[in-house]
């Protein structure tokens, strides 16, 4: 797996992560290094193995459809970087690019 600067840039857009040009280059280099371990995965024979999503045999974990008290709106907003009345305020949302 070789990860290019363009790959890093594409990923940073998907992950909404602003990276400087330098960071993009550095990460590409470092991740390509790290990918040397990851590439070893291809050597493993996993023909008859299932994908194991989590280390547990649990299934069908539910709760009943009962309403419990919600947080106080002031609590919910207590860490809001910006707010207006009881809303979270964000800068304008542009259409999808």
């Amino acid at each position: 797996m070789s990860i290019t600067k363009e790959d890093v840039e594409r990923m940073s857009i998907l992950a909404r992560l602003e990276l400087s040009e330098d960071e993009q280059s550095l990460f590409a280099e470092q991740l390509s290094e790290i990918s040397r371990i990851i590439d070893s995965l291809a050597e493993v024979d996993t023909e008859d193995m299932d994908e194991m999503i989590f280390p547990s045999e649990l299934g069908n974990v539910f709760r009943e459809d009962t309403v419990l008290p919600s947080a106080d709106p002031e609590e919910a907003l207590s860490n809001a970087p910006d707010r207006e009345d009881r809303f979270f305020k964000v800068p304008r949302i542009l259409e999808v690019d």
Partner: protein, 513 residues
């Protein structure tokens, strides 16, 4: 220099750097010492040495003293002591504490104060424990040395030039330095066990789902665990018992009935089959660590255990699988940090999408960003099956290998880390080198089985070496029994760092009773 634990506490100084919960709690119950005195002593200790060690991000001194006074009043009024009444506990700063800043050692959450407690914190508080403060970690638990903290690095109390391990470095340091009696850490790839090994304490990663994850800032959902970090195995069992058990707020919570873990502490392992995966001895294991480990195996045999060599060929792929899965899950779990509802919001942009990207770019450190990029990469459509799907299949393999060896062994052992604590800055230049130090601890996270690290030796420079014991899922009993037997037959857990080397305060944090 080894300090002896005092035989009789009555009228003798409380040695904070040696004090165990199971010694302190009866003293509090018998009113030989007040909770306020204990907490004050801990806080005093912190103010004396933490400027050097930097285990804490936030010390909740005022609140702790307030709670201490309340506890004393309750006891004075004749109310029975709760199971952990007055116990000073440090909480890793990626575990939410109501009303107390929780930063995950990240610039992004520097100003974040949750209005809710993690379930483990709630349980500790309900049992009377006193939260002393929040300890340092690698940012968002990503790291193995606590050097990735956006706040400052924590130092190893045994040698200030070295790291305490990570990511629960602050918790480990606080316990061995007497800045807390017990601590909670989190472990996704070894973050409780490795710092426990580097700092010479006991660190337990429980079975997956045994301890609720509600309130633990998520890193890799399928491998995150909260566990105790303590001075000895008995304390470990005590804290585990206090926090483990079903929680309806965590869908992965284990619903089964749990034993009293302190009752498993029988120092008898005669006939116990102890497996040593030969793959653990293949890696870049340092000479001193290997020696200490081999001696530990001898000790186990001396105690009547039967040590057998086993093979788990899939182990050598664990690290790769771990990094793919954990980065992938992390890239998704950390997406919520966008500056909209809480956390760091960058200025200088007038549209939401740019604001989010800038906030994350400025608020996250390089290791976090690197893992998000890697995680996004392995989950992208064209790469999914090759990396993520493959890693999930390797995970099945590792789990199967564990299941097979546990059919012939009661527990497995190995070194916790290939090396002792390294020097600060030694591995930060190359992330890959840092990742390799997780090689022994990662497999239990993949399989969800429990693992504990206990002290098993020291190198020529006096740095602690850890022994890792693993058992079948939900079989913490075998784990604790083996750990206890080894501990009680050795003296490693009684040794302490010479704190007075770098502070004028007496190492014992003497406090007359």
């Amino acid at each position: 220099m080894v300090r002896e634990a005092a035989e009789d506490r009555r009228g003798t100084p409380l040695r904070l750097n040696e004090l165990k919960a199971h010694e302190l709690l009866p003293m509090i119950r018998r009113k030989e010492v007040s909770v306020e005195e204990v907490v004050a002593a801990i806080l005093h200790r912190i103010s004396a040495i933490d400027s050097k060690i930097r285990a804490y991000i936030t010390v909740a001194g005022e609140e702790a003293l307030k709670k201490a006074k309340e506890a004393d009043a309750r006891l004075a009024g004749g109310e029975p002591a709760r199971p952990l009444e007055g116990l000073p506990v440090a909480i890793k700063d990626n575990i939410c504490t109501q009303g107390l800043r929780t930063t995950a050692a990240s610039r992004f959450l520097e100003g974040f104060t949750p209005f809710y407690d993690a379930t483990v914190v709630e349980r500790l508080k309900d049992k009377g424990a006193i939260i002393i403060g929040k300890t340092n970690l690698d940012e968002f638990a990503m790291g193995s040395s606590t050097e990735n903290s956006a706040m400052f690095p924590t130092r190893n109390p045994w040698d200030l030039k070295r790291v305490p391990g990570g990511s629960s470095g602050g918790s480990a340091a606080s316990v061995i330095a007497g800045e807390a009696v017990c601590a909670l850490g989190s472990d996704t790839g070894g973050s409780i066990r490795q710092p426990a090994s580097f700092c010479g304490i006991v660190g337990l990663k429980p079975s997956y789902g045994l301890v609720s994850r509600y309130g633990l800032i998520g890193y890799a959902s399928s491998m995150d665990h909260i566990g105790p970090m303590t001075r000895d195995v008995r304390d470990c069992a005590l804290i585990l018992g206090a926090i483990a058990g079903y929680d309806s707020k965590d869908s992965q919570s284990y619903p089964g009935e749990l034993p009293d873990y302190t009752e498993c502490l029988v120092p008898d392992i005669k006939g116990m089959k102890v497996g040593v995966p030969k793959e653990y001895l293949d890696e870049g294991l340092s000479g001193t660590v290997r020696d200490a480990f081999m001696k530990a195996l001898d000790k186990l045999e001396e105690l009547g255990a039967k040590v057998v060599e086993v093979s788990m060929p899939s182990l050598k792929h664990s690290l790769a699988a771990y990094y793919v899965i954990s980065s992938a899950e992390a890239s998704s779990n950390l997406a919520r940090f966008d500056g909209v509802r809480y956390g760091y919001r960058a200025t200088g942009s007038d549209d939401s999408m740019t604001m989010m990207a800038m906030s994350r770019g400025e608020g996250f450190g390089p290791e976090v960003k690197r893992r998000i990029v890697l995680g996004t990469y392995v989950l992208s459509a064209e790469n999914y099956d090759k990396y993520f799907g493959e890693a999930l299949r390797v995970r099945s393999l590792v789990t199967r290998d564990f299941r097979e060896v546990f059919e012939v062994c009661d527990c497995l052992v190995g070194p916790t880390s290939p090396t002792v604590a390294f020097e600060a800055g030694e591995k930060t230049r190359d992330p890959l080198e840092m990742y390799l130090s997780d090689v022994y601890t990662v497999p239990p996270n993949l399989a969800g089985i429990p693992g504990v690290s206990i002290p098993c030796g020291f190198d020529e420079e006096g740095m602690p070496i850890g022994l890792q014991i693993m058992a079948r899922q939900y079989n913490e009993e075998a784990l604790l029994r083996a750990a206890y037997a080894f501990e009680q037959a050795t003296e490693f857990h009684k040794r302490n760092p010479e704190i007075e080397k770098y502070t004028k305060e007496p190492a014992g944090g003497e406090m007359s009773v």
